[in-house]
């Protein structure tokens, strides 16, 4: 064993202390009542609380809708940007990422204000629009990267063999770009399902998402219930990560044929 492998030791200790231990705290707190005794009360509270349950369902619904919206709008953008015939300039790609460097809260406030000026009532529609606006670059960039690095000879071969442009896209380009779509889906779904400030601004506090309830509980010293809700969110994240890992294996196999 090479001696230099021990260089990772400080980072290992750091991660145990500040990544693993905190997550353990979430688990411990969520199975305790406020007096510190073992209890399932937080979870039974969640299951019997209609408001929490409907917020939970709504958050997942909004996250799925927003992710789909980002794929539908973002894929064509990535496709056009990666196509040398349609886009010659690298600056255009930068223009799509640039807004991310402006404070997200400030941009969201301005978006909400634009809706107000246009006389559009803040609600679920504006929430979806604003979230899609905030996370679209996270979808465009990974898809663009995959499309840009893709070996063009596959598509050319299909064309030479008589495939129509639509067939080339459906049978070659789209399947080969799936890894990019999947990482885009992860990068959009995860933050959407856990967002809190953005949803408050975009709906004028009318619609609460799961992140908002976690924040409210933690800030009002209901740490145990807040921890239990965080644990539920962690479960969603774990499941999506697992599914993504599985399906990206499948597409790699499928794409290689």
């Amino acid at each position: 064993m090479n001696k230099r492998s021990s260089w990772a030791l400080p980072y290992f200790i750091f991660m145990v202390l500040f990544v693993v231990l905190p997550l353990l705290m979430v688990v411990i707190y969520s199975f305790q009542d406020s007096a510190g005794n073992f209890s399932m009360a937080n979870f039974s509270k969640f299951i019997t609380d209609k408001d929490s349950l409907s917020t939970f369902a709504l958050s997942i619904e909004v996250a799925i809708e927003n992710t789909l919206l980002c794929v539908i709008i973002g894929y064509p953008v990535a496709y056009i940007l990666a196509d040398k015939k349609l886009n010659k300039s690298a600056v255009t790609v930068v223009l799509f990422i640039l807004p991310m460097w402006v404070n997200a809260l400030m941009r969201t406030l301005a978006t909400a204000e634009l809706f107000n000026m246009a006389g559009i009532t803040l609600g679920k529609g504006t929430l979806l629009f604003g979230m899609c606006y905030d996370y679209l670059p996270f979808m465009i960039y990974p898809i663009y990267n995959v499309l840009n690095k893709m070996d063009k000879s596959y598509a050319e071969a299909a064309e030479d063999l008589g495939a129509k442009p639509k067939e080339v896209f459906m049978k070659i380009t789209l399947p080969l770009s799936m890894p990019g779509v999947l990482s885009g889906v992860m990068m959009v779904f995860m933050p959407t399902v856990s967002t809190f400030a953005i949803s408050e601004f975009l709906t004028n506090n009318k619609i609460k998402l799961f992140g908002t309830i976690i924040q409210e509980n933690i800030n009002n010293s209901m740490w145990n219930y807040g921890a239990a809700l965080s644990l539920l969110m962690l479960a969603i994240i774990a499941i999506t990560t697992f599914l993504q890992g599985k399906s990206s294996e499948d597409t790699v196999d499928g794409g290689a044929i």
Partner: protein, 270 residues
């Protein structure tokens, strides 16, 4: 047929870009009027810029110190993350089997975790250990979510590096420190720089993690300042010129980098 497709592609790109930039342009336009609320035009004026730079704001200094805190925290967090992440990457690169897998798995956790979970979990740890929260805990939290990106940026540079040149330096009488500084670091530098820049921008933009780990001492970064401001109902009007200036600086830097690298590529082709 071809031109139709091209036209459609162009129009589509520009429509999406227009939507993406609408709120930013909106902020920039309304930074040139004095009105307090965001969408209110009361005639052209540069007074907001004047009061931003003179520091004569109603909210005396709150915004300025929030900007300072944001920059200081991002600078410290990104620097520490770059050093720790680079050293860790060298270690991980030299590991094999289960150990390596464990380290890579641990390194992935902060990247997959949503901000709010990172924030809440660290908050609970600090509460549990009775650590009072403030500047130090925020910086610590930022280091936690920045370092994995440095590791991820440095690892590929290590596999591109010829492993023999480090050994050669040692054989030729360099001390391990000299070999590290003169041989290893230069070949890792591009990865370290992109890791640092990524860490810096993520720290600048962070809201949720800071929100949960800053404690109750009134520490504000730009994000938490804006959040508190918006919840109170009225944004500090000087935020508009501040955001406009930040945007213009970033735009200039990015365009400069891109035009320069495009020129370099052209020169290479010739």
């Amino acid at each position: 047929m071809m031109t139709g497709k091209k036209l459609f592609a162009k129009v589509y790109l520009w429509v999406i870009l227009a939507i993406l930039y609408a709120p930013i342009v909106f902020i920039a336009v309304f930074s040139f009027t004095e009105a307090k609320s965001l969408g209110n035009w009361t005639g052209f004026s540069v007074n907001l810029y004047k009061s931003l730079f003179s520091g004569n704001m109603q909210n005396s200094g709150g915004l300025i110190s929030a900007v300072q805190n944001t920059l200081v925290i991002a600078l410290i967090a990104a620097s520490v993350a770059t050093v720790m992440g680079t050293v860790a990457a060298i270690g991980i690169f030299n590991m094999r089997g289960k150990k390596k897998q464990t380290m890579q798995f641990l390194n992935n956790i902060p990247m997959i975790n949503p901000d709010i979970i990172t924030g809440v979990s660290l908050f609970l740890l600090f509460v549990f250990l009775h650590i009072s929260q403030g500047y130090a805990t925020v910086i610590l939290a930022h280091i936690t979510f920045c370092t994995p990106y440095v590791v991820l940026n440095v690892l590929p540079k290590l596999s591109q590096m010829n492993p023999n040149i480090y050994e050669a330096a040692l054989d030729l009488g360099a001390t391990p420190y000299q070999a590290l500084r003169k041989v290893m670091i230069p070949s890792l530098r591009p990865g370290m720089i992109s890791g640092f820049i990524l860490s810096f921008t993520m720290s600048l933009d962070d809201f949720a993690v800071t929100f949960f780990t800053r404690g109750t001492i009134g520490l504000d970064t730009l994000s938490t300042y804006i959040y508190a401001d918006a919840r109170k109902g009225g944004l500090t009007p000087e935020l508009k010129p501040l955001m406009t200036i930040i945007f213009l600086i970033i735009l200039a830097v990015l365009l400069f980098i891109n035009i320069r690298s495009a020129k370099n590529n052209n020169n290479k082709k010739k």
